[in-house]
Symmetry: C2
Subunit: 462 residues, 2 copies
């Protein structure tokens, strides 16, 4: 195998060429949520297929009911290990357009407080990020003549519109997509100097509940008093779901929740996370949630039960004195560790049925679920990737959590037994989904170098 | 003064003619909510003015920003007392049309279980009812040459669309509309055999509240845990507004609420009101509200605090894992007796501000208010009207309450010092606002006779 330093030198020497390719990619307005850009989405997929073919991948545009997938393989004969890289070539709509300093699909480099940065829609989310991986693969192939591990690339074009085709495509092509490990480059670093590997994703359970008390909407003059009001019933049910310490009251909710390993807890305590700044940026004046837990722990390692929507009765202009027949809420749990979505959904329903007052009925409607992801701190692949990041950045990568949920990562685990390493080089201030999205040139450059190192290390995976 | 029996005989003899006039009135589709019927509304007002002029009223169509008012006066030189009669010539839309057995504006008489009945939109609400009064006046004038009391008639054409012009018109014409007593014929009897006077109307306070916890909607993955959720805050506030006995917890809420006079309580107990049937018809399976009070007492004589609408977060199809920045509710109180709308609104706001958790803010928006109406059981006019009803029906009229609110009746009291007698001959099964609206022929006939007697008695009012 070639020396990784030669690969890194090639990346440095070819940075301008890499950037040219990124600019070509960013110039395609592959907005998945707007059907007016359907042809552009297809064009972005073709662009990626051409680039991957040019460096010797067997690549194709794979049609779906929505925007197409890009699937590409390059499997060296003597490779010990095989990784699946996932990214997305679609981007968010650029609206509001008038807040952009330059047009969103005319990429440019500007000077920023941390040095040069690339400004365009998709520069960070996710074209810039996914290209760090492809450019690292290119450098390996150009310098060493081959990749250190077998690589399958899967790019989707609907990540910004809920990935409707991803799971069906995955289900239909599991055998082709199976590898030893999945890699995703769509997350953040800890900060501009400190790399991170996201090893925890919370799971999710979605429920819609409707409380009914009457067969029709009632006039609050004629019935106000003896009529059971479903909004009041629903409010009381919601109020009963947490105790005074901010803990969820559903029986058994915390049964499978472990305390954080001390090493991880110590690393997080040492991060100097600015809790007040984080909350203040969202206009949150106080910290809520479970008493006695840090903000990072609450988001990365603790389960929640939240109300995401509520409605009932008259909600328009002015006033109507109605007592509605029913009221509804959308409720979701974020899960951690080994919490079982099926068992918790059942426990939640039982609990509310038991709390329901006489004269009210309740209906439940399921809105999907997925378990939490937690990569073991003992994972050999994690150690190898951490080595690559440590060498590039001169710092130990932070093992972060993410409060969000990425359902396909759950499917990688549950259906193919594949762990996923989520390694990204985006920063909190990249303005993804907002005007003037940017990606630090150093993120692009050192990100590419990081992947080159990680690929080299993964070849050592026994 | 002529003998009332001669007047009653005239009413009996002229019933067919009265019915012809009612049919002419009912044939005009004076639907106030639909601008396509603007000319028809005007035509209905003109019809009433012509009829009133024909029996010697000084009558006019008075324009407003919406549909016009009808104002008419006939003031005998030697009349001791002056009454203001209020009614409305507009009707509800007839939809759904296909459920009508015959066209809604082609009135007819059919046989029903209680005898003949008049079927048409507006037959009960309110053209049939208001015409009982005008036909009684006509009979007095035709038999005695004059009315026993001075009469002002005020008919509006926007009752079914919220009466937007009524209060401004009233304010601009108070001096002309002032009388000793107001009469309204837009309510029900107790049942087909038993007359009623509605002496209580609950008051109303409308409030809209918005709880805010963040400066923007948040992702429940990224913020779920440390973020205060305004839907949960709002739900807890709503849940805290009633105690386990169904009583409102706002301090001072019941301070001005008197217990029912024993005579009234005894009359209501004796009514044999079918509580289960009343609730069951609306699909209500249990009786809610203040423990230890009857359904009639709860609706007619007890205050309430109800939530009429609630909304926050994502309420569309599917699911969005949002923690919204704010959540809102529309809340109304129904007031009784001497409860002060202004003081209670302030007490409500203070209470919620005090219950509000740290980190949340609350805004209040006022949606109007009006005090309760309670006609003293000692009122001489009430006794005189009751005599007329007793003579006609052979039964003591029930002194009913109404859970609803009629703002203009409050203005009659507060701004002109006029009490209002609400005496109507409609029945629960008249299908007002529904297809195949009907008015019993006996309601029309005995209603007219009742007003003739009441007018006669009111001439004795010292």
């Amino acid at each position: 195998m070639a020396d990784v330093n030669d690969v890194l030198a090639r990346i440095d020497a070819q940075l301008d060429k890499s950037l040219e390719r990124l600019f070509a990619f960013l110039s395609i307005p592959s907005i998945s949520t707007d059907s007016a850009y359907k042809a552009d989405c297809h064009r972005a997929a073709e662009w990626a297929v051409n680039e991957l073919s040019a460096i010797g991948f067997e690549a194709r545009v794979a049609d779906t009911k929505g925007h197409p997938m890009v699937v590409a393989h390059r499997k060296p004969a003597n490779a010990q290990r095989h990784v699946l890289f996932y990214g997305h070539y679609d981007v968010q709509p650029p609206d509001p357009l008038d807040l952009w300093q330059t047009p969103p699909f005319e990429p440019r480099v500007e000077d920023g407080p941390r040095g040069k940065r690339i400004v365009a829609r998709g520069s960070s989310d996710d074209k810039g990020q996914l290209l760090t991986f492809i450019e690292a693969a290119r450098a390996w192939i150009e310098v060493a003549g081959e990749l250190p591990v077998a690589v399958t690339v899967l790019l989707e074009g609907e990540e910004e519109s809920g990935s409707p085709s991803l799971k069906p495509f995955f289900d239909a092509n599991k055998a082709e997509l199976k590898a030893d490990l999945a890699l995703v480059c769509d997350t953040n670093q800890w900060n501009a100097d400190t790399p991170a590997i996201t090893t925890r994703l919370r799971g999710l359970v979605g429920e819609q509940i409707t409380v009914t008390t009457a067969s029709r909407d009632l006039h609050s003059g004629m019935y106000g008093g003896p009529a059971l009001n479903p909004i009041r019933v629903l409010s009381s049910l919601i109020a009963s779901l947490h105790d005074a310490d901010g803990r969820v009251t559903v029986p058994g909710f915390y049964d499978s929740v472990s305390e954080l390993p001390e090493a991880t807890a110590a690393q997080w305590r040492g991060l100097g996370f600015d809790e007040k700044g984080f909350l203040g940026e969202a206009g949150l004046k106080t910290e809520a949630g479970e008493r006695g837990r840090s903000v990072l722990e609450k988001i990365w390692a603790r389960p929640t039960l939240e109300v995401n929507g509520i409605w009932g009765g008259y909600t328009g202009e002015g006033f109507k004195t109605v007592i509605p027949a029913n009221a509804s809420a959308k409720i979701s749990f974020r899960l951690v560790g080994k919490q079982d979505p099926v068992a918790l959904r059942a426990a939640f329903r039982d609990y509310l049925r038991q709390k329901l007052p006489e004269g009210a009925s309740i209906e439940f409607h399921e809105h999907g679920s997925g378990p939490a992801i937690e990569l073991s701190a003992e994972s050999p692949a994690l150690a190898l990737a951490a080595s690559g990041l440590r060498e590039e950045w001169g710092k130990e990568p932070i093992l972060m959590g993410s409060g969000g949920s990425i359902p396909i990562v759950g499917a990688f685990r549950s259906e193919l037994g594949m762990d996923t390493l989520m390694i990204g080089f985006a920063l909190d201030d990249d303005r993804i989904h907002s005007p003037n999205e940017k990606y630090e040139l150093s993120s692009f450059h050192k990100g590419t170098r990081s992947w080159a190192r990680i690929l080299g290390h993964l070849a050592q995976w026994a």
